[in-house]
């Protein structure tokens, strides 16, 4: 049956609320491994030693196995302890609704984020940064500048500032959000120092 529409965040929440109550350990230790193993066997998946698949059938089989995994298994909400389900048609509606082109950053420093397909001669976007690694407050600007100044880099990703005004940036304390805001200010300063103020983050 055709989907009514792509799922919104409130739709997903409502489905979690109406979902089946399930113990998290059953989900982790039974549902996930059993379903993944069954689909591996159903689609006869065996990657062998190859890093990148070269056989189109193998790619399609893995895609269908993953799609079936999502549709038959559903998704688990750890706070509500409930499982929601969606249909294959709803997965495709979600895919169709997703933009296939994005712009990251602004002005002369934008990166155009378009599909490549296969090993296209077009270079992927290079998003440089510590990717969540812990970075000292006193060198945060310089660390981010070391990425922003590299010509091969098209976009930035933050590190995590470990302290703010000397206080540990602990979660669930006011220092957490103050450190996050300081990261954004420092990254902006790094972009400016590198001469690329419009770089996306």
């Amino acid at each position: 049956m055709a989907a009514t529409r792509a799922l919104t965040i409130p739709d997903v929440y409502e489905r979690f609320v109406k979902g089946k109550k399930t113990d998290e350990s059953e989900w982790d230790y039974t549902t996930i491994p059993q379903n993944a193993t069954a689909l591996k066997e159903k689609y006869h998946l065996n990657f062998g030693k190859k890093f990148i698949p070269e056989d189109k059938k193998e790619m399609n089989d893995l895609f269908n196995a993953g799609l079936e995994m999502l549709v038959t298994t559903g998704f688990y909400n750890v706070d509500l302890k409930k499982v929601m389900h969606l249909t294959e048609e709803e997965v495709w509606e979600g895919i169709r609704k997703t933009p296939t082109k994005l712009i990251l950053g602004e002005g002369r420093d934008i990166a155009r984020f378009y599909p490549r397909h296969g090993n296209s001669p077009v270079k992927p976007i290079i998003q440089g940064g510590p990717t969540g690694s812990p970075i000292s407050e006193d060198v945060f600007v310089q660390v981010m500048q070391s990425y922003a100044q590299e010509g091969i880099i098209d976009d930035l990703v933050n590190g995590v500032m470990t302290t703010i005004e000397g206080h540990p940036a602990k979660t669930k304390t006011p220092y957490e959000i103050r450190a996050t805001m300081a990261e954004l200010r420092a990254t902006k300063e790094a972009r400016i120092r590198a001469g690329r103020p419009g770089l996306g983050v």
């Binding site: 990148i52 790619m59 993953g66 999502l70 812990p134 091969i152 954004l184 983050v201």
Partner: protein, 244 residues
Amino acid sequence: MTNAGHRITDAHECSQLNELKMDMTGLNMLAGWTTEGDTIMIEQMPIFGGYCGGVEETAICDVATTLASFALFSGNFHLDGPIHIRWGTTTNRESLQIAAHAAAAIDANTDLLLANQYYPMAGPCTEMCLLETAAQAINDTASGRELLSGSAAAKGVVQDKTTGMEARMMGKAALATAGMKVSDVNELLEKLVSGYEGNYNSAPAGKRFQECYDVKTVKPTAEYLQVYDGAVQKLRDLGLDIEN
């Protein structure tokens, strides 16, 4: 500072939980961002050797969670990062296989925008760190990914052990790989990964940013440039036409 300092063309990140799980904090953030029209990146790092099991099972979960990022959570692009339960890296053989198979499978069937993140074992200013980073960049590029994000050297857990030089390698290796025949890339990867995967127990810890760069001028040290040139030469010897 509008939008808390984040522009509409900067990415807002929300992480799924392992495996095929989400929490209410994530849904609440997404409710705000979708209302505002923000650019949304959904992250998920499937664990090889964890709840899913082996390489193929983890790749199945990887495809499932990637599709969920778009079908359930209104993501605009997905940030992957299959991670090894023992090594805690994304540059090991199994993680590379999982990432490449999942990306190629989704790439062959959709126009979705796919990213991957980098957690090498070795620390900055070491040849091993740069070769691990290059291996993943080669793998991600040839399997069709659109964005490479990193690199969190020293597994992303040691303070100040990441620098722009590792990202330079990530970008240059990707640039050199784009357009190569995938069968040639597979041969290259076999040689490259075989060269470092025996060294996980003795991986070099590397140096902190403050030892890799002049902190005042933000220029890499002569030592790091020499290590970088050595890694580039090794990649050229393996058949990658990479610029330094």
